[in-house]
Symmetry: C2
Subunit: 411 residues, 2 copies
């Protein structure tokens, strides 16, 4: 008998039929003797409907009241699932974040979990009940309703699994696991049986939107085994774990991640003196523009070129800011390109293998794809290329690192 935390996202509870299917899934675990704590998102579309109501009143609604409003979405689904479980003679009890209680700080709309009271949940489990908890929400020390921000239901699931010392946290989504890359781009992409938290973090932050980044960090920190599965079809999914040793074969590269939503900006001819980076990026970050890759090219003439990438939506705003910065710094000019894409290879295996980066550059060169920027970490190499070459680059890398399903390389 094991204890599982199941988390179902908005699509998995998007209709009465889907909620009934979730009840069947939970019952199948109960029937074989497992204990289950379920974390639910709001029905798909519901959170946006609620936000729409608020935005119809005020462009920038009061954050405390916003959380009171949007937290109703999950409250609806937990009640409905308990009804569907009761219909199947599976005793169940629902809890809002406040009822559990999931104590958070008071940062409305982006609260952080501080403590979880497991008392009621343990009592219910001991009494043979399924516990159904509203994801994405908590309560602060004053009794105010808080939310953890978009995608926060994953975090709730992982946090409950950690607090309850669950055997596994299952994240049910509309995909059946984590793939070597996006199967829509590479037809031969393979589902991974296992992946490490670190790899998953790099995959997630680079555009594979299977899991919310914070939940993976949390799972890694508290060593909660995470499994990504489909709520539609049965299957083993992908297990995300710390135990690198348990991965029978360590391929060099676990997957190829990519992101189209990028734009790059370059301040050309910046005087090469200390403090320049902060004088360029300070105004950008004060405008709440998030910066991703940063590269400073060394030039010979006592000036330097400073390049960074931002979300494509922030491109024009960032450019306007940089025009002023160019004048202030006495730089030559500001150039930019919003038709770029980022491609990354990710794998813990590259730690112990030299030459992974050069294999990547070779594979791209063989396709005549020019590399505009390079950035590396211990388990990832990212390059920026022209957007039009994105699919070509991903397929070439997927094949050259032997990730294709038709290859004999096993997982």
């Amino acid at each position: 008998m094991a204890l599982y935390v199941h988390k179902y996202g908005g699509t998995s509870v998007g209709s009465i039929e889907r909620i009934e299917a979730v009840a069947d899934k939970v019952k199948s675990f109960r029937d074989r003797g497992d204990d289950v704590v379920v974390v639910l998102s709001a029905m798909s579309g519901e959170t946006n409907r609620l936000i729409g109501l608020a935005k119809a009143i005020a462009a920038d609604p009061d954050p405390r009241e916003m959380d009171v409003l949007v937290s109703t979405g999950e409250q609806v689904t937990i009640a409905l699932l308990c009804m569907a479980l009761a219909k199947r003679d599976v005793p169940a009890r629902s809890y809002t974040g406040s009822q559990v209680r999931i104590l958070t700080d008071s940062a409305f709309s982006k609260a952080r979990i501080q403590d979880i009271d497991t008392g009621k949940m343990r009592d219910d489990l001991a009494a043979g009940r399924v516990v159904v908890v509203a994801g994405f929400q908590g309560v602060d020390g004053e009794g105010n309703i808080t939310t953890l921000g978009r995608g926060g239901s994953d975090t709730t699931g992982v946090a409950l699994a950690a607090a309850l010392k669950a055997d596994e946290c299952h994240i049910y989504t509309d995909v059946d696991g984590v793939y070597t890359t996006d199967p829509r781009v590479v037809g031969t992409a393979r589902r991974l049986e296992k992946i490490t938290f670190e790899e998953m973090l790099e995959m997630a932050s680079l555009g594979s939107k299977v899991l919310q980044i914070r939940s993976v960090e949390f799972a890694g920190k508290y060593k909660v085994p995470l499994r990504v599965l489909s709520s539609m079809v049965d299957g083993p999914g992908t297990l995300i774990t710390t135990e690198e040793d348990s991965i029978v074969e360590k391929p060099l590269i676990s997957g190829i991640a990519f992101n189209r939503d990028e734009a790059k900006l370059t301040v050309v001819g910046v005087p090469d003196i200390p403090g320049v980076a902060s004088r360029i990026l300070g105004p950008v970050s004060r405008a709440n523009i998030e910066v991703d890759m940063i590269v400073q090219n060394v030039a010979g003439d006592k000036t330097t070129d400073f390049t960074f990438t931002v979300h494509r939506n922030d491109y024009e705003k960032a450019r306007t800011i940089l025009e002023k910065v160019v004048v202030e710094l006495g730089a030559r000019e500001c150039t930019g390109n919003n038709k770029i894409a980022k491609v990354s290879i990710v794998g813990v295996g590259m730690r112990s293998h030299a030459g992974v980066a050069s294999s990547m550059f070779d594979a791209l060169a063989n396709e005549n794809i020019n590399i505009q920027m390079i950035s590396t970490s211990e388990i990832k190499v990212s390059v920026v290329i022209a957007e039009k070459y994105l699919e070509l680059a991903v397929r070439a890398l997927h094949s050259s690192f032997n990730l294709d399903a038709t290859d004999t390389v096993s997982e």
Copy 2:
């Protein structure tokens, strides 16, 4: 400076535009220096939408989960109103029933309020904030969400007014007050300036659906002055109060109530022996059929006729039950009529005036309307007549008791 509790129903918060109008109304009270606690219902249609979701899963959904589900409706409106108030620079804070806290028993879907903690509300009022509370809901001693049943937002409003010792509780609806009778039936019906709790109870229970009965009982018990007003148009509305003395003129009759949804059943030729009434009504009430008027006619031949009224929807069910009772009791037969209506005159004035009932019978006789049943209380006389005469009877009584607006009788 006064303290008001405002309660707005589902129609008054049925759209963003209506919520903005409520914010304007509340602001107008704040602007003149009054303190305001607002109680809100769910947006009209929302509670039915939520019930529809539950019914799609189970015909008889788990009551605890039903309350978790439907209580989200008010949680949405309190957040939206606070946003609309913030936009008008009126500081406000929302509370669910659980947050206040409004402590109830654990009778899900029909919970009764046991205690109200006024601490947070008083702090907010002292800090210059409007307090916005979700109507219709509370929390039991175990922390479970409860609801007070349909129309329970009125009760929340009155209970908060009692707990806070508010100067008045305003119930905003889609009508501008309590009328002498239904203006759709009698064009000359007048709005009453004042009416007593007792009269209002008789009016409410007899089909004038302006206020929920329990809230009027509650207001009477705790002597909370209630005012019924329109949320659409400004006006003084109708004050419901205990202070009969303050009513300058006491008309004999305050209003004419009526109800079309009745049916009557008669067991004919019942042996006139003790215990017969309970042997007739016992099986009816065990079938959860509510009985309204009961009349037992004395006959000379040691048998009696026993007549009572039920809701028209229960007519066939009650008839089937009585067929058996007739056999068991050795009664002659069971007759019935579901084309009847009940008309009542209501007024505290009749306590001290003889002959009110006979004036009523005279007025009906003048129109050749036959009276089928009569039932009286201290401040009301009800008669059952054929349904087709209903409008005629109401208009005749309205006129004969000098209630018409064109008359010179002032309120």
